[in-house]
């Protein structure tokens, strides 16, 4: 619903029924409270809250973390405008996009709190924040059976994203290189996605051969890993090019990232 609209709405369905009935149906009334708009904004309000509430984020440099979201958002809306999907699909895709991109921004905004610890603890804290954000998103969308499938997909993207960042940080702890880190992230993303899809497909789909399932999981995981990597890349660029964010990256990843 447009943000300017609230109050009593009348919805009329129409189709040609020929001799069997009228073209226009009886209007169905729905009261759309202004608060419903606010409910949809809750996930977005968490970002400014992280800026305001955390002292370490009261710095103009912090705003650079919004740049990847803006770039990815522009690409996303261009893709939506080009493909013209159904409104239901857009609602689901919005949830996925918001969760993955804003959730990742939120994780980095809380970086000082989750960094400087054992990598496993940092990973778990980041996962807690990321999944918490997914939960907030689902609740603000009026947790609904239509969103269950997409939330599973979101979960299947969140875990590999965090895992691949953690693994890349671990493998780069002695020798860091930006390209090396990006490649390691991509490879770990692909492998972890593949494992997840195999774990889902193998036990539950018993109708097809293992080879067919393996290859299908391979294709799906390659595609999703690619999407995740595209989402991650702008963040990595900001984390490595901006001094403030590089310091935070070092604190979370536990490595020195001044190498090229």
């Amino acid at each position: 619903m447009p943000y300017s609209v609230s109050g009593e709405l009348r919805i009329v369905a129409s189709a040609d029924l020929g001799e069997f009935g009228p073209t226009d149906g009886k209007p169905v009334l729905f009261h759309f409270s202004p608060l419903y708009h606010v409910q949809g904004l809750i996930p977005w309000l968490l970002l400014p809250l992280a800026f305001v509430a955390l002292p370490e984020n009261r710095n103009t440099q912090v705003a650079w973390i919004l740049a990847p979201g803006a770039v990815l958002g522009a690409v996303y809306w261009a893709a939506v405008a080009a493909t013209k999907p159904t409104s239901g699909s857009v609602a689901q895709a919005n949830l996925l996009f918001t969760t993955i991109v804003l959730g990742l921004s939120l994780v980095w905004l809380l970086g000082e709190r989750i960094g400087n610890r054992n990598r496993v603890i940092s990973f778990l804290l980041a996962a807690f924040i990321y999944f918490g954000f997914l939960g907030v998103n689902l609740l603000s969308g009026g947790f609904n059976k239509d969103l269950v499938a997409i939330s599973f997909l979101a979960a299947a993207m969140i875990l590999p994203i965090l895992f691949s960042l953690g693994m890349a940080a671990f493998l780069s702890s002695k020798r860091f290189g930006r390209v090396r880190f990006a490649v390691l992230t991509g490879v770990c993303l692909f492998i972890s996605e593949w494992i997840i899809f195999l774990a889902v497909a193998l036990p539950f789909d018993s109708t097809r051969s293992t080879a067919a399932q393996l290859s299908e999981a391979l294709l799906v995981s390659l595609l999703i890993a690619l999407v995740c990597f595209v989402c991650l890349l702008p963040f990595l660029v900001v984390l490595w090019t901006n001094r403030f964010w590089r310091r935070r990256f070092e604190c979370v990843a536990g490595i020195r990232a001044d190498a090229r």
């Binding site: 609209v5 009348r10 369905a13 001799e19 708009h37 409104s87 018993s206």
Partner: protein, 642 residues
Amino acid sequence: MKQENTPEKSPSGLPGCADQFIEAIVRKIRYRRRVRLEVREELTSHFEDELRDCTSDDERGQKARRLIEEFGDAGLLAVLCRRAKKRCRPLWCKVLVRSVQAAGVLVLYIVLCSLRLFVGSPSLKVDYLAWLSDRTREGRAESLNAKPYFDKAAALVRDKELFDRGRRIAGVRWTDMNEPDRKILADVAQHNAQACEMLRQGVTRPHYWIEYETAVNEPTPEDAAGPGAHLDSRSADPAMAFNRAVIISAHGYRTLAQALHISIAWRASQGDISGALDDCLVLMDFGMHLEGRGTETEQLVGVAIEAMGHSAALMLLDHYGVTGLNLAPIQSRLTSLFARHESPMDVTGNKAFWFALIQRMFTDDGHGNGHVLKSGLGLAVSDWRDGVTSLLLFGYPDRREMTSRIETFWDEYQLVLGTEPCRPEYEERRAQWMALAQESLLLRALAPAQERLAALIWRLKTGRRALLTTLAVMRYEKDKESCPATLEALVTAGYLSELPIDPYCGRTFGYQRTAAGFLLYSWGVNLADDGGRQGTGQNGQPRMFADNGDWVFWPVYETPKPPKASTPPSMDEEKATEYRAVAPLNHTVRIERMGSYLKLDYELINADGKKYDLWGISEHPELTFSVYHGDAKIGVGKFEYG
């Protein structure tokens, strides 16, 4: 050795030997970093306390070495420190650690248990299509097979695009038809005369069988554009192989039967009632050739064709009467036909299919046994609880047990098919069979469809018996110029050797003399005598084989007239009648809020709120919605299917 002579000071201020000793202990603890730091601090404090009173470095060094000797082996001390630290953990920490360990052991156990499902491969030794071919052919000579004739006849069928219309017209009285309809009937009948003749020759062959393992590689219409599939009937997926083996003939036979049905109507309209009735018997015989052996699909096609023959025969008798007809030979031929093909359904094909599945889903130990593979889980477990229990206790049925279960399941089903629904043992057998179905997820999913199939078979058998009874009553009426007072009079007068039994009441069919002739009905699936009141469909119109009344075989229910011009062209006549009965229909929208989104679900309902399918009216409906705020239209959109 240097450190023993000249004690060095470390950053902590302790002698070098003490520092090295502490470092060795800390390194050998091999526990959390925090614990190691604690131990280091504690040991450092201990050494500092002990060395506080020493005045010189030598004295400090000597005392430190003495303390180290008292401490003993650093490795042993490290182990003791680790144990002590673990022992001193808070309760919540101990619980957490033990829980994680327990979960780890459980996961490991589950992984070990499930390994068996992934180890081994099936051995595809038996070609179950060939196995089924052997059982349907039973070593008979090829000259006895009607299939080549049926195939040739099916290949000769023309004007298939007119069949839908032609089939509907075939049920309408000649006098009620308009000129274009009559032309369609004539064209279809004349263009398919050769196909019908070939079919008549085919039914003179006593048997029918398919070489399934060969038929599986015959090209389907979908293959016409490409090279087609080449399946090895032994290794191919049974679902695909069994379907492919019969799909070509099944499709061709359906159109062939329709062609003969239309031809029957045409022949009757030209005054050749006797010839048309003969063709009805050909149609029934054609169906019966496909029944009682082979795959379930073929048998179902046979059942549908035979039922078409019953309906065509009753329609002829109703529309054209029996004047000038000699019904005795027809009744005699029918009696012999029905006796020859008493059981329309045989489950050997089903067994073959499921054995082929077992062969693919279980390993083979070379002695007829084996264990289940992951693809067979749906077959081996009954529900998720059984799945978990079987996984944890290695309790999956083995191959031999599963084969035996499948065999018993289908044998019990054959018993259900052979037991009249009115008999007390029917429910008992059905319950036994259903209990067997509950032992496997796949069988349980299959059971409702098989139940409907059993009902269909009994419907067909009821139709056979009713047709024989009707013919006998008509012969009596023709000879005595009045209908018999009771059905028993038919036996007394010699028109029937014994009275056919209604499978739904266990006695003779319901029968009444009426002003227009007679009423013959079965009690139907509600197993109650409704006095010959035909059951009704959802639209309130009388419907044959409905579950809320009797099944009236005579008089024949009048086919509705052709649809009015206002009905959308894509809508079939039966649906149009149903929708007209409940009109006016209304659009409505079910609204569900998802945060700041509104999800709109379209529904087409009647005045009572009952839902209908818009896609039944039009295949491509332009279905839109408009949103108004006050008087202003603030949005429009299209509903998407699905």
